[in-house]
């Protein structure tokens, strides 16, 4: 009796995940080996789709755009988020309220954040260009210029996700023992030295965790460029997920899109593997 009871707690959840996550995943793998397309009979094509990925020049462009956002966003959110956490970790009155304000961007729908970007980066009337012009600079062509568009996607993503790095880094910093920092203060007046040799080594594991999560999230990025730039100008700011979306759900090349999405699954699985290998001891 006792040995059976424990499975009843797990069973509904396990079945749910098998039906709604694992099964679609397997079906999508099957599709990736076919020429499935809406309105024509499906034939098995082996690895054709996967071969096509490597000769598709659009893939190359979207991979570059995706890497630009992944690396750019990773570096910027980690640096800014950690620095802001360090700023807020200074006996600031009302810190909990300020922290709550900082988490606001995290809970805004990415699709809406994309529109926020449209408003903020508008070339002639947006606050960003107004500020640049007020400071005596030339207005940046956020829409017309390919790199302007790419940077607008990057900056919007960084704006939304820096708070995530911030709250995690702050939580980690607040668990650094006060005595350690006090003791170090006797030896040095330099905030940098204390951060580098006391705080950073202690918060590094938490930062590593966040970095992995940030990588996966940005690899999947679709909503923000979808509304912010529409992938444009041309296809300059189209990310890999966006291209898969276009091929599969606008051109209805289901087989080819599935094959491309499986590349993303493999990369995300590797990162997820590293992630859970690091943290799974806490799940026992």
């Amino acid at each position: 009796m006792k040995s059976r009871a424990k499975y009843y707690f797990l069973l509904p959840g396990v079945i749910w995940v098998l039906v709604f996550t694992i099964f679609p995943l397997i079906y999508s793998l099957y599709l990736s080996f076919t020429n499935a397309r809406l309105g024509r009979p499906t034939e098995f094509r082996g690895l054709d789709n996967y071969g096509r990925i490597f000769t598709d020049s659009r893939v190359q462009d979207t991979v570059i755009m995706t890497l630009f956002v992944v690396i750019g966003s990773l570096v910027l959110t980690m640096l800014i988020g950690t620095f802001v956490a360090w700023l807020f970790n200074h006996d600031i009155p009302g810190i909990n309220r300020l922290r709550a304000i900082m988490t606001m961007p995290l809970f805004a729908a990415p699709i809406a954040v994309g529109y926020l970007g449209v408003i903020i980066f508008n070339e002639t009337h947006g606050p960003v260009n107004n500020l640049i012009m007020a400071l005596g600079g030339q207005p940046v062509q956020w829409v017309v210029n390919p790199w302007g568009a790419r940077f607008s996607v990057l900056i919007t993503d960084v704006w939304q996700w820096t708070p995530f790095v911030f709250i995690v880094a702050l939580a980690a910093m607040q668990s650094v023992p006060e005595e350690l920092v006090e003791a170090a203060r006797l030896d040095t007046d330099s905030a940098w030295v204390i951060f580098r040799h006391i705080t950073f080594p202690l918060i590094a594991p938490a930062l590593g965790t966040v970095a992995l999560l940030r990588m996966v999230e940005t690899l999947k990025i679709l909503d923000i460029p979808f509304t912010l730039t529409g992938g444009g100008p041309g296809t300059a700011s189209q990310t890999f997920s966006y291209y898969v979306f276009q091929r599969g759900l606008r051109d209805f090349e289901l087989g080819y899109a599935s094959a491309m999405s499986y590349l993303l699954v493999i990369i995300c699985s590797v990162i997820a593997g590293i992630y859970f290998w690091r943290v799974r001891a806490r799940f026992d």
Partner: protein, 294 residues
């Protein structure tokens, strides 16, 4: 003696002065950071009270720089109200349904994983449940579209509830497992000794004390289901369209009607942001899947 005293005193004065400068720098920096986090929202609030002609002008102060108007909000809730309310109702139904499913499954699974040992290893099971949050949603949207087309779930609220429940399930599993794992199990063991079975113990002993965690799981699940866009854009057409789709439907007016864009954008983001204020304690843990304790 006198000289040492003055020496000590000047050192002290210097230190407090340095401290003051540090404090000023700190506060300037903190305010600057908050400003950047909030300004885009603030700008859209201002823009949502502008007439279309003013929306193109960089002005901030109502009545002085521009004549504020309720026109956009009236359009959204008055003239175009039917569409708005329907989409908001759909968003709410989908998010509530998904949340009920996810927290129900998440609570039983979380309890099981916290109280019993399983052959494959609890750490592996927990990782398995959480890992689907790492999957790129673009992979499963195609299979879902095909199947929903076959079984007639396209453009239906139940269909949207199913997919969203799947996406937010990891949050519920994580938060509930964490709670039960940290809650002492002596009470439950006593009840078992008294002859209660596991189902009774779960329902009458464990569940009643799980309230706060359950509320947190509910709010976080609701917020993320509310924000979902990709699946909604593919699996709904007319009747089950949630509000995120109404926002993206502004495509045709890109770059022109900022006043409308702002209004809809604000309506979308307000609900989850308000909910987030009640779950601050759980955010770090929830979003890092338990890896960092907040």
């Amino acid at each position: 003696m006198a000289t040492t005293l003055t020496h000590v005193k000047t050192a002290e004065v210097r230190q407090t002065r340095l401290g003051d400068w540090r404090k000023i720098f700190l506060w300037v920096a903190v305010i600057f950071v908050l400003f950047i986090a909030v300004y885009p929202f603030f700008w859209s609030v201002i823009t949502s009270f502008k007439q279309q002609k003013d929306a193109l002008i960089p002005s901030l102060i109502p009545w002085v720089q521009f004549e504020p108007t309720l026109f956009n909000w009236q359009q959204e809730f008055g003239v175009g109200g039917a569409e708005t309310f329907k989409a908001l109702k759909n968003s709410s139904l989908i998010a509530i349904g998904a949340t009920i499913v996810a927290t129900t499954l998440g609570t039983t699974v979380g309890y099981g994983l916290a109280r019993f040992r399983y052959g494959v290893g609890n750490r592996n099971l927990v990782s398995w449940f959480l890992s689907q949050r790492f999957l790129p949603p673009i992979v499963t949207v195609i299979p879902f579209k095909i199947f929903y087309g076959r079984v007639g779930l396209i453009d239906s609220i139940p269909g949207m509830i199913l997919v969203n429940a799947t996406f937010v399930l990891p949050f519920a599993v994580l938060i509930m497992r964490d709670f039960f794992a940290e809650f002492p199990k002596e009470l439950e063991e006593a009840a078992l000794v008294d002859g209660a079975n596991h189902r009774q113990v779960f329902l009458r002993v464990a569940l009643p004390v799980a309230g706060p965690s359950l509320v947190a799981a509910t709010l976080i699940c609701f917020a993320f289901a509310w924000n979902e866009f990709l699946f909604a854009s593919q699996l709904t057409t007319l009747n089950a369209k949630p509000y995120t789709l109404l926002v993206s439907g502004l495509d045709s007016v890109r770059g022109i009607m900022f006043n409308f864009v702002s209004t809809r954008m604000l309506i979308t983001v307000t609900v989850p942001i308000v909910l987030s204020l009640f779950v601050q304690r759980y955010i770090v843990r929830g979003l890092t899947f338990g890896a960092v304790k907040g």
